[in-house]
């Protein structure tokens, strides 16, 4: 152990060895750097938004600037952070290892996806430097296609290109999971993290082309004045909303499903127990992916959709709630008679379950037609999707990062500070977004730069919460970086967790496994793991 062991990080230090790497683990690190950077930018936009909203008058920035801020916040967080976050970083790093492979099926495609991502991101940043777009991340027509006086095309083109990187990752995962599983690793022995990514990849590959087409059509109308969405040119403005949400609702599941996969890993690892209802949790991911394509019309309940269509989309949306509920109940049941340790990743997991339940339940409220009429396009919706996207996806990502950080870097981070940060994030998050449910029900519309005075108290609470949240996010940034140099050495399995990734050294060697592993047990089979150790 004392002799310098060669692993994927120290095998070569040259810049070229990183930029031209085909190692899935190094590509994961490249993605980690990129998405962290964009998370910081998107976060700064959010800070400015909350600062502006601390007072009812629009006194910090001009309305035009405000509109560009929330557009940039949405576009960056969704396309440049949330969609790639767990798949491109944790999925990239872990899927080959979890299935006992030495890399993804198409390593070059994997590297290419990172370049494509950065190309799209660069276009978006260029658009931002030129003033940015002011349409909201939803790009609704005919405002976006004919009226907006901002960098709509560049921004949309950026999103279009980034979409291809997620298609590339999706294809890579699907093929890898089908073809490269270790001997004995049957479908029902796969870690649920892999199942969740499989479902996610299906959505990425099937859904992304549709939004790509919608974006191209907006660009065509803007540049060539072909009447597609603008009635003045003979188009249909609502058509865009159908195309957009046909992808963007499933995209919500692209963002949340991987975090559900992370949850299943964390909860089993820190309960040291096989997951309750393995097949139900696995198939619920697929059910969510499939049903997710049938519910887009719930974004159009007040948009002149026919009453019948509204009714159909409402009931279909209720159905999606069931597989999500199934997951929550199975996670809860997994804790029963477990051996539960309260380490940082588990704190994130417990927080996640709470926030996801609130996010999910408010989602079913929004799917209820009579209720949605009132709260559609208000802060109630804003709060709901932040509970899912931040309370869910971001908490899942951070929980996963804390869980696998010792594997990725070979180092431990300070336990005390990481627990403080988990607590700050949980408290700050609720303080930021819970008041928004109330202010939304009161009627405050979203995307308002200034608002009536009676909404101020709740907005001030929200802005205060955002400050706490910011500190909560800053801490991990500091101690993660600190740990890379000064952190205690982690050893191969610091948590005593099950899973192939914990059976190889940390950080893993370039080819992951010295010899091809053979899998003989079910996933999370702690019982056999213990027997083996004792034996």
């Amino acid at each position: 152990m004392q002799a310098r062991r060669v692993h994927y990080l120290n095998v070569d230090y040259g810049v070229k060895s990183w930029l031209l790497t085909k190692d899935h683990k190094r590509i994961a690190i490249l993605y980690l750097v990129s998405i962290s950077f964009f998370f910081a930018i998107g976060g700064m936009m959010a800070a400015l938004i909350r600062l502006e909203l601390a007072t009812p008058a629009g006194d910090l920035v001009q309305p035009d600037v405000y509109n560009r801020l929330f557009t940039a916040h949405g576009v960056i967080m969704i396309f440049l952070f949330l969609i790639p976050s767990i798949p491109a970083v944790l999925g990239n790093f872990l899927i080959p290892i979890m299935i006992g492979a030495k890399d993804l099926a198409f390593p070059k495609l994997n590297l290419a996806s990172w370049y494509v991502y950065n190309l799209g991101a660069a276009l978006m940043m260029w658009a931002l430097l030129r003033g940015g777009a002011d349409t909201g991340w939803t790009f609704y027509t005919p405002y976006s296609s004919m009226y907006a006086n901002s960098e709509v095309i560049l921004t949309a083109l950026g999103a279009f290109i980034v979409g291809f990187s997620s298609i590339m990752t999706g294809i890579n995962f699907i093929v890898t999971i089908h073809r490269m599983r270790a001997p004995g690793l049957t479908w029902f022995r796969l870690p649920l993290f892999v199942w969740a990514h499989y479902a996610t990849s299906l959505i990425q590959v099937l859904g992304t082309p549709v939004v790509a087409i919608a974006i191209l059509l907006v660009a065509a109308e803007r540049l060539l004045h072909i009447g597609i969405f603008d009635p003045a040119l003979g188009g249909d403005p609502v058509l865009f909303q159908h195309l957009f949400w046909f992808y963007s609702h499933p995209a919500v599941y692209i963002m949340i499903l991987p975090s559900m996969g992370v949850m299943s890993e964390l909860i089993t690892a820190f309960s040291r127990k096989r997951i309750f209802g393995y097949r139900f949790v696995a198939f619920s991911s697929l059910a969510i992916a499939v049903l997710g394509f049938l519910v887009w019309g719930h974004h159009l309940f007040v948009a002149s959709q026919s009453v019948l269509a509204g009714v159909i989309f409402s009931v279909l949306t209720m159905l999606v709630a069931v597989p999500s509920a199934v997951k929550v109940f199975n996670w809860t049941a997994t804790l029963y008679k477990g051996s539960i340790s309260w380490e940082t990743p588990m704190l994130y997991a417990i927080g996640y379950v709470g926030l996801f339940v609130i996010g999910g339940l408010t989602g079913t409220m929004l799917a209820t037609l009579g209720f949605d009429i009132h709260v559609h396009d208000t802060y109630f919706v804003v709060s709901h999707f932040h509970y899912i996207m931040v309370g869910g996806a971001v908490m899942g990502y951070l929980g996963g990062l804390h869980f696998w950080w010792p594997k990725i870097t070979g180092r431990l981070y300070p336990a005390f500070w990481s627990k403080i940060s988990a607590l700050l994030i949980f408290v700050g998050f609720n303080l930021t977004f819970f008041p928004q449910f109330v202010v939304g029900y009161l009627g405050m519309p979203r995307r308002y730069h200034a608002y009536p005075e009676e909404f101020q108290v709740l907005n001030v609470l929200s802005s205060a919460g955002a400050t706490v949240l910011a500190v909560g996010y800053l801490l991990p940034t500091i101690y993660f970086i600190w740990s890379m140099r000064y952190g205690e050495r982690a050893g191969s399995n610091p948590w005593g967790a099950y899973g192939l990734e914990w059976q190889i050294p940390s950080p893993p060697p370039t080819h992951n496994f010295e010899e091809k592993p053979v899998v003989t047990t079910e996933a999370y089979d702690y019982y056999t793991l213990k027997e083996k150790r004792v034996a």
Partner: protein, 328 residues
């Protein structure tokens, strides 16, 4: 900042009370399930905390019946809430037959209103209490959304077609109107109010406005101005369909399809006469695209509707789902 700090929105319609009821029941359900999960998670996490380093969890068999129970119970509850919500939705978007029709135009960044008596207003709409009011709405540019929280009503206002919403205020007062769909730079300034008055005060207010003509009167004048009656006259020899009695009827089209005559169809027929040609007629009518303002278009349509007796009270005119999309 602390004065005037409500936690619950004002209620000024019966619909508002119904929506609130749904909200309270749903909140109770949500609270129950959140607390259930939270309690179990925290209880298990404490009760089964790891006591020795090497300890592992007890394996147990997956209980199929448990899976069924916790899939079916949420499903049944959610389906119940779905039916309740759908009932309110259908009511909110089906204007009652006796509702009085007002015309709303949204444009960047103001609301324009016209009363049936002809009075016009900007950003503020005066209405009598206890009167069912239907708003027929359109936009001159981008999508806006008409939202009065105290009434719990909202509907997008689209360019190029009519949408509608209705309400019946049950108390007097001034209620904020928001534009809820992002529509550009001054979106958050596109606010106004609905001022609900006692009927006699409303009559007075109307009279003080001294409108030149009612909406239907203006429509009749436009009908004459554009000499629509050279073709559209009540005689079977006419070169165009007879408008008297046509409202709300299903007519056969030259392409073999059929269409119900409603506001969106008449609108399309004025702007794009050949799009859905009535069977047995030649495509002779010129387009009036660009010659009529949204308001004039609405006046003309109102006049056409008045030619069918009882049509003003027919329910079919414009529900939220217009003819264009209903097949979807």
């Amino acid at each position: 900042m602390w004065k005037n700090f409500p936690l619950f929105p004002d209620k000024a319609t019966e619909l508002a009370a119904e929506v609130d009821q749904l909200t309270f029941v749903f909140l109770a359900i949500a609270l129950f399930f959140s607390l259930l999960v939270a309690t179990l998670v925290i209880y298990f996490a404490i009760r089964y905390r790891r006591r020795s380093e090497g300890q592992i969890g007890e394996t147990e068999e997956t209980g199929i019946w448990l899976e069924i129970v916790w899939s079916v119970i949420p499903l049944v509850i959610l389906l119940g809430m779905f039916f309740w919500g759908a009932k309110i939705y259908i009511k909110a978007y089906r204007p009652p037959a006796d509702a009085v029709e007002y015309f709303v135009t949204g444009k960047q960044w103001m609301w324009k209103f016209q009363h049936p008596e002809g009075n016009r207003e900007i950003n503020h709409l005066h209405v009598p209490v206890g009167q069912r009011i239907r708003l027929t709405m359109t936009s001159e540019d981008v999508i806006h959304s008409f939202f009065v929280p105290a009434f719990r009503v909202k509907a997008d206002v689209l360019p190029g077609r009519f949408t509608s919403i209705w309400f019946e205020a049950n108390k007097t007062g001034t209620f904020t109107l928001f534009c809820a769909e992002f529509c550009g730079a001054e979106h958050s300034q596109m606010m106004g109010s609905v001022i609900v008055m006692e009927p006699q005060d409303y009559e007075q207010w109307l009279a003080a406005g001294q409108p030149e003509q009612t909406v239907i009167g203006s429509g009749e004048a436009l009908f004459a101005k554009y000499v629509c009656n050279t073709c559209h006259f009540p005689d079977s020899a006419a070169r165009a369909p007879i408008l008297q009695g046509i409202w709300g009827k299903e007519v056969a089209l030259s392409d073999g399809e059929s269409v119900v005559v409603d506001a969106n169809y008449v609108r399309e027929s004025i702007l794009e006469p050949t799009a859905k040609l009535v069977k047995g007629y030649q495509p002779l009518m010129p387009t009036y695209q660009g010659q009529l303002s949204e308001e004039e278009l609405f006046q003309l349509i109102s006049y056409v509707r008045s030619l069918t007796s009882g049509a003003a009270e027919s329910e079919d005119s414009v529900a939220v789902g217009d003819s264009k999309e209903s097949e979807e």
